[in-house]
């Protein structure tokens, strides 16, 4: 068991901005490395591709956001991280978590990794918690398996976790249906932190909550990630959530990452037309232009069984060129550390102006 990076109870200096923290600490091995991941489902009506080649890395202390409309394969990707994908899925490419290749290690090692090194926070907490088991027991369960805390120490650890997520200790005796949506999500987070993992994968953690509670839960999650120096992979369709919580954002469309880069870059200056449309869909307070610009995209996400030819976004792309319908642009660096998969970016990533005029 890797020792914890920092003592959770020790006070931390004022939280340094995440981005420069990452830069200075480059040499450490990434927590999560996904290279050329492809996932497709065997169904009665043939193979359905869900993820068509994704590269993604998350370093300790770094929080990466993964955005995309529903059906773009982001949840499938999340499930492969801990090899939780259903039996009819075929996975190709590499997934390394804390240095171990998740697809090839034996079951006992995988089980040690699950929740030991990487934990998940699911979307609908009411469904993801066992309805007939007390909250305290559900949190204690992973501790008993992974952690070395002695049996009598576990209740204390559970109380500590509940405090960490801002819940009163007596909530341990309650059942899931006796808690509100926000409280349940906090329990999920407490459960995720139970074995002091290094990586947290949050799959749509706040989608089911109303805005006010969503803000609280997000600040709690990001605060803890910073405080404990964990790696966070936040998956959601809500770009504005990623913008305010993550250091880097990757945008996925129809099973592939179409743009990646520092959060504010991608949010403010999206290179890929889809990211632009996505960020435009979320109004910013105080920005008058947002009030007039017609937000949203025509059409719906493509049906994975009949993906459009060439660049899969071209039917809905406002700046699509004639070439886009046959040519599927590979990912290229628009700027250092800014991969974008769009023909407009061009080989050297410079001649964007020409594209805008046509």
């Amino acid at each position: 068991m890797s020792e914890t990076t920092s003592d959770p109870t020790a006070p931390v200096a004022s939280p340094a901005p995440v981005s420069d923290f990452v830069k200075s600490e480059k040499p450490r091995e990434p927590l999560l490395e996904i290279e050329g991941l492809e996932v497709s489902y065997r169904t009665a009506s043939g193979e359905i591709p869900a993820v068509r080649g994704v590269d993604l890395t998350v370093h300790a202390g770094e929080s990466v956001g993964l955005a995309g409309e529903s059906g773009c394969g982001k949840s499938t990707l999340a499930s492969t991280i801990l090899r939780l994908q259903p039996s009819n899925a075929t996975v190709r490419g590499g997934i390394r978590v804390c240095g171990k290749d998740v697809r090839t290690i034996g079951w006992s090692d995988l089980r040690a990794l699950r929740w030991g090194q990487a934990a998940m926070v699911f979307q609908g907490a009411l469904h993801s918690l066992n309805p007939v088991q007390r909250i305290g027991d559900q949190i204690a369960e992973p501790i008993r398996i992974h952690d070395s805390t002695p049996a009598k120490g576990i209740p204390a650890r559970v109380r500590e976790l509940l405090n960490q997520v801002g819940l009163p200790a007596d909530r341990a005796q309650a059942f899931p249906h006796q808690l509100s949506g926000g409280q349940r999500q906090r329990v999920m987070i407490a459960m995720a932190l139970a074995c002091r993992p290094e990586l947290i994968v949050a799959d749509e953690p706040t989608t089911a909550l109303d805005v006010m509670v969503q803000a609280q839960v997000l600040s709690l999650l990001t605060g803890l990630v910073e405080e404990l120096g964990l790696g966070l992979l936040m998956i959601t369709h809500d770009l504005s959530v990623l913008g305010s919580t993550c250091s880097r954002i990757a945008v996925m469309y129809a099973g592939r990452v179409v743009e990646e880069g520092p959060a504010d870059e991608v949010f403010e200056h999206p290179q890929h037309p889809y990211s632009a449309a996505l960020s435009a869909a979320f109004p910013r307070i105080g920005d008058p232009a947002a009030r007039y610009a017609p937000a949203g995209l025509p059409g719906d996400p493509p049906n994975p069984q009949e993906l459009p030819s060439g660049c899969t976004f071209h039917p809905r792309c406002p700046v699509a060129l004639a070439r886009c319908s046959e040519y599927d642009p590979p990912i290229r660096m628009a700027e250092p550390n800014r991969p974008v998969a769009c023909v407009l970016v061009g080989e050297d990533g410079r001649d964007r102006s020409a594209a805008q005029s046509s």
Binding site: R114, H127, S128, V132, E141, I145
Partner: protein, 349 residues
């Protein structure tokens, strides 16, 4: 009692008492249930009396035919059986007796019905008790195995096996077992006795007597067990399949639990909830189901007592056994409701 009916009753129960929970505490829930059962008991007691009075046959005539001669003797018999009183009068004495726990004298055996029922009770309880326990354990295990291996061969085989047993009259299965194992067909020797509870030359109270009774009960218990395990395995299977679709199992797997613990500690335990209530509910109906098995295997239990009493008709005995069967069902119903309230926190306040 079919799987489908019992699920309905359970759903009706939870749905029916839904409004009650919200406003009141657990005691109110239990109180409501007990009151409901008491109402049912009253209904059964009254229903019981009139049901048998309407049978056209006159017990005195049937009893006396071929044996008694003078009409003086017939009057004498009518008086000793208390049948000369007017119907309302009989109803009053009936009520007094029932509440004072005295069920009157059997017309045929002239013994207090309570005693006869107690004498004939233990074979039925022994038969039904062991069969239910076995049927529940095997049925649930079978349901679990076929749910976890849905679509695989073992699932098709076990569902097919359960479906065949479910569609089979259990007493016919008993007949086949008798023909094959008790009478001996071809190579199979006469392994088991053809009926009854004891061999004549063994003292029933001794240990050997106990073994002898067990030896006599083996075939009937196997028959009844097979008949009811089919139903339980089908109930368990569908309840487990419902659970398997839930997200909290993915969470459990994500927590690093071994698959077998995911099943045992989470899926099966939650699936057991509705199944146990249905099984307990079913218990009440098994007691009356034993009638056919007791007839085939000549076991002097309550089931047989009922069919014999019907020929006379022996009103007191019929009322006694019918009341007993109804109480068994009402109790099973009550226990199943309370159990459901106890086991499933979502229901309890």
């Amino acid at each position: 009692m079919t799987a489908q009916t019992s699920t309905l009753l359970a759903e009706a129960e939870t749905e029916a008492n839904q409004p009650v929970q919200r406003r009141s505490g657990r005691w109110r829930y239990i109180g409501g249930k007990v009151l409901g059962s008491f109402g049912a008991l009253m209904f059964v007691i009254v229903f019981n009396f009139f049901l048998f009075r309407v049978i056209p046959a006159d017990p005195v005539r049937t009893l006396a035919r071929n044996r008694l001669v003078s009409d003086k003797q017939v009057e004498e018999l009518t008086r000793t059986l208390g049948l000369d009183q007017s119907l309302p009068r009989q109803f009053l004495t009936y009520l007094q007796n029932t509440f004072s726990g005295e069920f009157g004298l059997s017309f045929k055996y002239r013994q207090p019905v309570g005693e006869i029922i107690l004498d004939r009770l233990w074979p039925t309880l022994l038969l039904v008790g062991t069969s239910t326990i076995l049927a529940t354990v095997i049925g649930i295990y079978l349901g679990m195995v076929s749910a976890w291996n849905r679509g695989k061969l073992v699932d098709h085989m076990s569902t097919g096996f359960s479906l065949t047993l479910y569609s089979m009259p259990e007493w016919w299965l008993g007949l086949v077992f008798l023909a094959v194992f008790a009478v001996g067909a071809g190579p199979i020797p006469k392994l088991f006795p053809t009926g009854g509870l004891h061999s004549t030359d063994v003292d029933p109270t001794s240990f050997a007597g106990g073994l002898d009774t067990a030896w006599h009960l083996t075939l009937p218990v196997i028959t009844l067990t097979l008949a009811y395990l089919a139903e339980y395995s089908l109930i368990m299977r569908s309840s487990l399949l419902d659970e398997m679709g839930e997200d909290y199992l993915t969470t459990a797997r994500a927590k690093g639990l071994r698959d077998v613990y995911v099943r045992r500690r989470h899926a099966t335990r939650n699936a057991l909830l509705p199944t146990t209530t249905l099984v307990v509910l079913n218990l009440g109906f098994i007691v009356s189901g034993a009638i056919t098995i007791e007839t085939v295997f000549s076991i002097p239990g309550l089931g047989l007592l009922t069919t014999e009493a019907l020929e006379v008709p022996d009103y007191p005995v019929l009322q006694g056994t019918f009341l007993f069967f109804s109480i068994a069902v009402i109790l099973a119903n009550l226990v199943s409701n309370l159990l459901y309230g106890l086991l499933d926190p979502r229901v309890r306040l």
